[in-house]
């Protein structure tokens, strides 16, 4: 891990944030470090929401550029990771309100993505079992509400309950409820 990334994580974990207006060149370096540290989870979260790589890349960049603009104004950000996810989430929600061809990742899209990446070397019996299990899992994922799905996706990207609550602007107990419901729906399908 480079020194820049360590510095970024130190800022994140220690909740020490930039409060003074800094020089643009200094901020540029900081935001670049944050970009290196968080771009992949943010991109993956957006890809899961939007199902389109170009859009996910574009919005990832937008989120980090917003970070630069916000820090430049001297705004205090306590948790940069949660802030970036929150901005990315809002950008994706706004994007989904616009007319589009590619829907948010639904069952069919997941199926297609999974098929593209499935292991062709496995034998047919294993393949059938896996397909059966996947079918049930996809059925369960289809039953998830958008909020349950967002909570699961954010949790999958390593955000804690408090951060998820911050990203989605909901209470921590609500996050617990959504995650509980989501996991139980999946557990019910794959265990029944």
């Amino acid at each position: 891990m480079g020194s820049g990334t360590k510095q970024a994580l130190a800022i994140l974990l220690g909740s020490k944030e930039i409060q003074q207006r800094r020089q643009p060149s200094e901020l540029e370096a900081r935001v670049s470090e944050f970009f290196v540290a968080f771009k992949l989870p943010v991109y993956r979260y957006l890809l899961g929401l939007l199902g389109n790589r170009d859009d996910a890349e574009e919005m990832t960049q937008e989120a980090f550029l917003s970070l630069f603009a916000t820090l430049q104004k001297g705004t205090r950000i306590d948790n940069v990771r949660a802030w970036i996810f929150r901005v990315a989430h809002n950008l994706a929600m706004n994007h989904q309100k616009r007319p589009r061809i590619v829907e948010a990742v639904e069952e069919a899209e997941w199926w297609k993505l999974s098929q593209e990446r499935s292991d062709p070397a496995s034998d047919s019996e294993q393949h059938m079992l896996r397909e059966e299990k996947r079918t049930r899992l996809l059925r369960a994922m289809k039953c998830l509400s958008p909020q349950e799905r967002h909570c699961l996706d954010l949790r999958a990207e390593g955000l804690c309950f408090r951060e998820i609550a911050e990203v989605l602007s909901i209470g921590i107990s609500t996050v617990e409820t959504f995650l509980d419901r989501g996991i139980r729906k999946i557990a019910k399908e794959i265990n029944d």
Binding site: Q23, S25, E28, G48, Q72, P99, M141, I183, A187
Partner: protein, 661 residues
């Protein structure tokens, strides 16, 4: 005592919530230790934990399989760094120009007040802007309205649309003048009848509402003139013959350059919600042309109920308020077949004149031939493709005249030279904004439209529906990404251009046949019919070429999205040979082309925010096939008609070569 701690003190099981917190590493070290200790000795809770963990693992596996370990591309990384650098540089520039910290950012208190006032004004403007209904476009409202009317008509066999209107005319310095108008339309056979109040009563036609009023009010000469004047206005502005028509409004609107437009939600007198489209021409408008029009559409059923037209006048204003008082679609049988037999006036302008001088000077046959000769001249000059010049009823004792607006003085001179062979036909052409001498001297021929406090909605196009699909298609080419994108843009532009060309020919075809919507083509004198055939054939041929090109370009790309079963150019069910008259079939070609144009713009220019890619693609391919089928049948009908009625001496070739008999 909380739920979380109760089970530890009572040697009971942890709650579902605590298990969830535990498997998620939440709830703190104390909770984690207690749950772990409990699970070690409790098979039941161990199983629950495993199920939760198994579900999480399955979700994660599936998610990882779907998303993969793909990182943001290197290109995207570089692009981000470049964007960030530009932003930082821009910030550096701004920072240099910011006021120093010790100084008041806005300067003196007076400046602060001015700044506050400016902010309030901006907020007020935004409020005004968003207090209207911005989420729906005028194009969409008109489209829905047209579709709703088509649906009402299609619901009945042999439908006849029966409408009654109250028309009020207001003019500068005159008291308002009102009359009633009643119309019957047979859209399938393109037949039309209209009556004013007294005439309807005399004819004994079943009048459902108007009859009750006829005792209290009789038609006068003024009533007749008012309706005649209104029809002239509609005709001059290429609006539909129907006094309130979404397609007519759309046609007029589409010809305006940079119109100022707004949409507002309003309430009708009975409390129903309505949407009002207000469209105003952005610049000077010639005399007798519409400067502003409003169409009120009832939201409940997308039915147009009112239209208000403001007309340019040299010395004041003139407006028409047309309000529908009754609307119904009935079967022809319920009215009696004779309802359309009362029509005695043929539509061509030459036979509509009321001046005895005109009718005495020429026989009706001569008049019709003259009219068709003049129309044919305009056709040969290419003026029929969207240019605002028309053969209209003449003034000052003249039978016909050429009137309209042209784009340049050169064009005006060209048309004047062309019509020089007809000294009896006055030419009244204007060139907007070119300082037309006569107009400027009188200060009367053009009327400035006041700057309306309305919202500009031009450029409200959304992102192209086809963008991603086209990008995927052109990505198959072995070309750099930029070149692929350039090809995609070129392709889209070409499709739109061809569609617009077809749109122009469809309108020309409609205007041509609308001249005969009350008069059977069989009644036309041979030369006039031959000229009609020549013009119609030109438009049909051009339409076929453009539509076929569109079809050939689009089918390979759209076929995978929504593939109709019919092959290119095949006769689909909708275009199977039927009993339609030639004008009626031509009108159907027009409607299909307009619909295809709308779909193409929706797909490639993003003009329809509600369009569905698959549905639009499928509808477009079916529509293109239908147009080609209809054109073939129409051409065949036209040829048959002409071969029977026109003597061999008047061949279309001779018509093409002859300008004047």
């Amino acid at each position: 005592m909380t739920n979380r701690t109760w089970w530890t003190h009572n040697a009971s099981h942890p709650s579902e919530r605590d298990l969830l917190l535990y498997v998620n590493g939440e709830g703190g070290a104390k909770l984690a230790r207690r749950v772990r200790d409990h699970i070690e000795g409790c098979w039941s809770c161990s199983l629950k934990r495993d199920r939760l963990a198994g579900a999480i693992a399955a979700f994660m596996r599936e998610r990882e399989t779907g998303l993969g370990a793909e990182d943001v591309s290197e290109t995207a990384d570089r692009r981000f760094q470049s964007r960030l650098r530009r932003l930082a540089q821009a910030e550096s520039t701004c920072a240099a120009s910011r006021p120093s910290p010790g100084r008041h950012p806005l300067g003196s208190p007076l400046q602060s007040i001015l700044a506050l006032g400016l902010v309030v004004a901006i907020v007020a403007l935004f409020w005004l802007r968003f207090s209207s209904v911005p989420s729906v476009s005028a194009r969409e409202i008109l489209h829905r309205t047209e579709q709703a009317e088509a649906g009402r008509i299609a619901a009945l066999n042999e439908p006849v649309v029966h409408q009654q209107f109250r028309v009020t005319r207001r003019a500068n310095g005159q008291s308002p003048q009102s009359t009633y108008l009643e119309i019957w339309r047979d859209p399938k056979n393109n037949r039309w009848r209209q009556e004013t109040q007294e005439a309807a009563a005399v004819a004994g036609v079943t009048s459902r509402n108007l009859g009750s009023k006829s005792g209290s009010r009789k038609e006068t000469g003024a009533d007749h003139l008012l309706i005649k004047e209104l029809q002239d206005v509609l005709k001059s502005n290429d609006m539909h013959q129907n006094p309130i028509s979404a397609s007519g409004f759309a046609g007029w609107r589409s010809k305006l350059k940079n119109p100022v437009e707004s949409i507002n939600e309003t309430l009708l007198e009975n409390g129903d919600k309505a949407l009002t489209i207000t469209t105003a021409a952005a610049g000077p408008v010639s005399k007798n042309l519409i400067t502003k029009a409003e169409l009120v559409v009832r939201r409940q059923d997308w039915h147009p109920v009112e239209q208000r037209l403001n007309i340019s006048e040299p010395d004041g204003f003139r407006s028409y308020d047309i309000r529908e008082t009754s609307f119904e679609v009935v079967t022809l049988g319920s009215l009696g077949a004779s309802v359309f037999e009362q029509t005695v006036l043929p539509s061509p302008l030459a036979l509509q004149t009321s001046s005895p001088d005109r009718t005495l000077s020429r026989s009706p046959v001569d008049a019709l031939e003259l009219e068709m000769t003049l129309v044919h001249l305009l056709h040969q000059a290419g003026a029929c493709l969207g240019e605002e010049v028309h053969i209209v009823e003449g003034a000052a004792g003249k039978l016909l005249e050429l009137r309209g607006v042209v784009g340049s003085s050169e064009r005006k001179q060209e048309l004047i030279r062309l019509f020089a062979e007809f000294p009896d036909v006055p030419v009244s052409l204007q060139v907007p904004g070119a300082g037309d001498a006569a107009a400027s001297a009188a200060g009367a021929e053009t009327v400035e439209v006041p700057a309306a406090a309305q919202t500009e909605t031009q450029g409200d196009h959304g992102p192209s529906l086809m963008r991603d699909h086209l990008m995927a298609h052109f990505a198959l080419l072995d070309l750099p990404r930029e070149a692929q994108r350039a090809r995609m843009v070129e392709f889209s532009n070409l499709v739109i251009t061809q569609s617009q060309s077809a749109h122009g020919h469809a309108w020309a075809l409609r205007r041509l046949f609308e001249r005969f919507n009350k008069m059977p083509l069989e009644m036309l004198p041979p030369l006039a019919l031959a000229r009609l055939q020549s013009m119609a054939q030109d438009h049909f041929r051009e339409l076929s070429i453009q539509v076929r090109r569109c079809d050939e370009m689009l089918r390979p790309i759209l076929g995978s999205l929504g593939s109709p079963e019919n092959p290119v150019g095949g006769i689909v069910a909708g275009s199977a040979p039927d009993e339609r008259s030639l004008p009626s079939r031509s009108m159907r070609v027009f409607e299909s082309v307009i619909n295809a144009d709308r779909l193409i713009h929706g797909l490639f220019a993003g003009t329809d925010l509600t369009a569905d890619l698959q549905e639009s693609s499928s509808a477009l391919l079916v529509g293109l096939t239908k147009i080609l089928g209809d054109i073939r049948v129409a051409e065949s009908q036209l040829s048959s008609l002409v071969s029977v009625l026109v003597p061999q001496v008047v061949s279309p070739q001779s018509v093409q070569a002859t300008r004047k008999d």
